[in-house]
């Protein structure tokens, strides 16, 4: 089976899997203690079961004894603790230490005060106890993230180019910027993939991908935004996935002019998002009523900022801006969304806000955002794990936002987010997520745009492709390929 990516991955070292593409590939060749199934529920993996004690601090994982790495060696509980130590070890320089930092003693280990992490305890050869400093509900989901993958202790030396995992696919060859070829792991502890091999071609041009799909060389095509209309005329099987993401415009809340709530709300009221989604995005997005995607909320959030230019003008008058406001929006060059920004620009101009578009490459853009330079910036966020918390803490918690994003800080919202992190997944936690979502909508630190959908086309000989909204649940296990006509 053959699919395409638009750029190559970084390598096979889970410690450096910080981008979506690399994370997807890591999930093919490695296993974690737990994983997400196609419906985004936590499912057993190397741990066949687990429990959390009533304080929410102590997790006990019961480990399968029939898991083998690709080189044939058995996966033992020592491999698990070694993998976790490796991520935390300063020698590794992994940017993903945040996944495991909350384990008791992790900080001591990271600063060299201890030679191992106290909170990782092997009780017998089939159970691992993990103790956290305090209750932290997302932890179990962190363990399904690429950087928490379990590595074969024998293969650490060459991880950047050769994976050392136990996952359902084995790497056969990797021609950098050319293709990745995997074969099914026949000895997988779970049901192995159906097709014999998986080829991922690196095709950076949108049109090239389409050409390859049209000639039947690609079995599945992730339809690029600009080509949705083109492919409608054909009769391919089409699957639409509402992904866990949010597209937004961050407004720097800590300095004039966007420290004024009325201006931020006016920015939201003044744009006709429905029109943009319909015309420019070919319907491949859903209006965002707040930062948290609807799939992760237990109740429906009502639309707070409908398209209402006169309300926007009124707010601008109240705030004393009249129609003389001039500002800049930063955007990363490769985002392919320039036409969308121009539409937004003209909507804002209609209410008297002049916005100049500043385009730069991704690296420059991210550096500027981190340093808090832009008044406005256009960006997206894709879920690390399917939990509303993932759309709250990293984006709106004061220390995170003040350091890396749009300098938003609200102690009430901070307090709710901390509660959400401590509570186990229950009705109260769900309500708090909805509350935080609403409060953030009211405070309008962003212009909330939309949640994008991805459209996949499959050839008629492909059966069983069910893409999941969460990136690392797509392991191509149940896809079968009939004889190609």
């Amino acid at each position: 089976m053959t699919i395409a990516y638009s750029a190559d991955i970084r390598g096979f070292d889970p410690a450096f899997a910080t981008d979506l593409r690399t994370g997807k590939i890591i999930s093919l060749v490695y296993d974690n203690l737990v994983r997400f199934d196609a419906d985004m529920n936590l499912a057993p993996a190397i741990a066949h079961s687990w429990s959390v004690n009533n304080t929410g601090r102590i997790y006990t994982f019961n480990i399968r004894n029939n898991v083998r790495f690709h080189d044939g060696t058995s996966l033992t509980i020592n491999d698990i603790t070694k993998s976790f130590h490796r991520i935390l070890d300063p020698q590794t320089s992994s940017p993903q230490t945040w996944l495991l930092e909350r384990i008791t003693g992790a900080k001591d280990f990271m600063t060299g005060k201890a030679d191992h992490v106290r909170g990782l305890q092997i009780t017998n050869d089939s159970s691992l106890v993990v103790e956290l400093d305090e209750a932290f509900a997302p932890f179990i989901q962190y363990l399904a993230m690429p950087a928490a993958a379990i590595i074969n202790s024998n293969g650490i030396e060459s991880l950047s180019t050769v994976p050392a995992g136990s996952g359902p696919w084995r790497l056969e060859t990797w021609a950098r910027d050319g293709e990745l070829l995997f074969s099914r792991n026949k000895d997988y502890w779970d049901t192995p993939p159906i097709t014999d091999n998986l080829r991922i071609r690196i095709l950076s041009e949108v049109m090239t991908q389409s050409a390859e799909f049209e000639t039947g060389s690609l079995d599945i095509l992730e339809v690029p935004q600009g080509e949705i209309e083109y492919w409608r005329q054909y009769n391919y099987d089409q699957i639409e996935v509402e992904e866990l993401n949010i597209w937004y415009i961050g407004m720097n809340c800590s300095r004039p002019p966007f420290d004024d709530l009325r201006l931020r709300q006016a920015m939201n009221y003044s744009i006709d998002r429905e029109k943009i989604i319909h015309i420019l995005l070919n319907g491949s997005a859903a209006l965002a009523n707040g930062p948290v995607p609807p799939q992760l909320l237990s109740e429906v959030t009502e639309l707070r900022y409908e398209y209402n230019p006169s309300r926007a003008i009124q707010l601008l008058q109240e705030a004393g801006f009249g129609n003389s406001l001039q500002t800049e929006i930063y955007v990363a060059g490769g985002s392919g969304m320039f036409h969308v920004l121009e539409a937004l620009q003209s909507d804002w101009a209609a209410v008297g806000i002049t916005v100049e578009i500043k385009r730069s490459d991704w690296n420059v853009f991210k550096t500027a955002v981190r340093e808090g330079k832009p008044d406005l910036y256009y960006l997206d966020w894709f879920a690390d794990y399917p939990d509303g918390e993932n759309f709250l803490y990293p984006l709106f918690y004061s220390t995170e936002s003040m350091k890396n994003r749009n300098r938003f800080s609200d102690p009430d919202i901070d307090a709710i987010i901390i509660k959400i992190q401590r509570l186990p997944n229950n009705a109260e936690r769900q309500r708090l997520i909805a509350d935080a979502n609403k409060l953030i909508v009211d405070a309008a630190p962003w212009v909330f745009l939309w949640h994008s959908k991805t459209i996949y086309l499959t050839q008629q000989w492909i059966k069983g492709f069910q893409p999941s909204p969460i990136f690392n649940a797509n392991r191509y296990m149940n896809i079968s390929k009939m004889a190609q006509e």
Binding site: A7, D8, R10, G11, F16, T18, D19, P90, S93, S94, P95, Q96, T97, W98, S160, T161, A175, R176, D177, G178, E179, R201, I202, L203, S204, E205, M207, T208, A211, E212, E214, T215, S217, G334, S360, D361, W362, N363, V364, K366, T367, R370, W381, D384, P394, E400, K403
Partner: protein, 310 residues
């Protein structure tokens, strides 16, 4: 001859040193932090500091420069910031692909360009001459990415004669090589025609014709060799640029060569890979130039005589 060759190589040293200095300085002037590409979305300030230290990004610039030059002199081009692999290994991995594409592209360029140019010059002003010259003009004017995409669409998708893109056997090589080679072919055709027409007006051609030689012999044996000096110059410089990678062609056809390696490195601010690939490209250019100079001597005995006379 060997003396001359060595002299030319020695002259290349200041050029390469200049290239090293300019790329080095440019990289530190352009905005953007390599660490940003490495850490992803959630990271702590300590991680950023630690990575910067590890990569020696906080050292004073002159120190970084001296360290780099010292390493290069020992044949060590450093390791990629992103994957940690040696830059030399990355270049060696990609170079055969680039080489293969470059040779095939040049083969097409010479075959099509010289044939068209000579055919054109046989009867200047004829229908064939005009036809070829219009095509050549189109070939020079058409942007590479456009030619590439049209070839993908027509030959790959509509006619399905060849796989549209990809990498592997010879069937994958033809379209990207044509894309890359057509522009040189067009240029060579025009150049060959112009030079041929010039040469054909000389007295020795009249002499050859008056001896009663058949027309094809006059063209191939007497006229054509005298067009070679400008033709070799163009082939040499174009080949040098092919060897340093063809970013557009490689991107359209998914061809894993030096050009894309450099482009990806620039996007990610992978300094050692940028430095390595740029230096490599410069070396390729210099070598091709030296080679072209040597070839002048081979095709033109007068150049050889001049040198041996000195």
């Amino acid at each position: 001859m060997i003396q001359y060759f060595l002299n030319r190589l020695l002259q290349a040293i200041p050029v390469l040193l200049g290239v090293i200095i300019i790329t080095f300085v440019l990289m530190y002037i352009i905005p953007g932090d390599p660490v940003v590409s490495m850490v992803g979305e959630r990271y702590s300030e300590e991680t950023v500091q630690r990575l910067r230290q590890e990569l020696h990004l906080d050292d004073p610039l002159p120190l970084q420069f001296l360290r780099y030059v010292g390493n290069v002199l020992q044949g060590n081009f450093g390791n990629s910031f992103i994957t940690g692999e040696p830059v030399a290994a990355l270049i060696i991995e990609k170079f055969p692909n680039t080489m293969m594409l470059a040779i095939t592209a040049m083969f097409f360029a010479i075959l099509i360009g010289l044939t068209a140019g000579i055919m054109s010059s046989v009867r200047p002003g004829s229908f064939m001459d005009r036809g070829i010259m219009v095509l050549a003009l189109a070939g020079i004017s058409a942007p590479v990415f456009w030619v590439g995409l049209i070839l993908v669409l027509v030959v790959g998708v509509m006619l399905q004669w060849l796989p549209p893109t990809g990498f592997g056997g010879i069937e994958y090589l033809i379209l990207p090589a044509l894309t890359l080679g057509l522009r040189s072919a067009a240029y060579l055709a025009r150049l060959t025609r112009a030079t041929m027409l010039d040469v054909l007006s000389h007295d020795y051609i009249r002499t050859a014709r008056s001896k009663g030689l058949p027309e094809w012999k006059v063209f191939i044996k007497h006229a054509f060799p005298n067009t070679l000096i400008p033709v070799i110059t163009i082939i040499g410089t174009d080949f040098g640029s092919y060897l340093s990678g063809a970013v557009l062609t490689e991107s359209i056809f998914g061809w894993p060569g030096i050009g894309r390696l450099a482009l990806e490195a620039i996007m990610k601010r992978d300094f050692p890979v940028i430095q390595g690939t740029v230096l490599f490209m410069a070396i390729m250019f210099v070598l091709m130039n030296v080679l072209v100079d040597l070839l002048y001597g081979v095709v033109d005995p007068r150049i050889r005589l001049e040198r041996s006379g000195k």
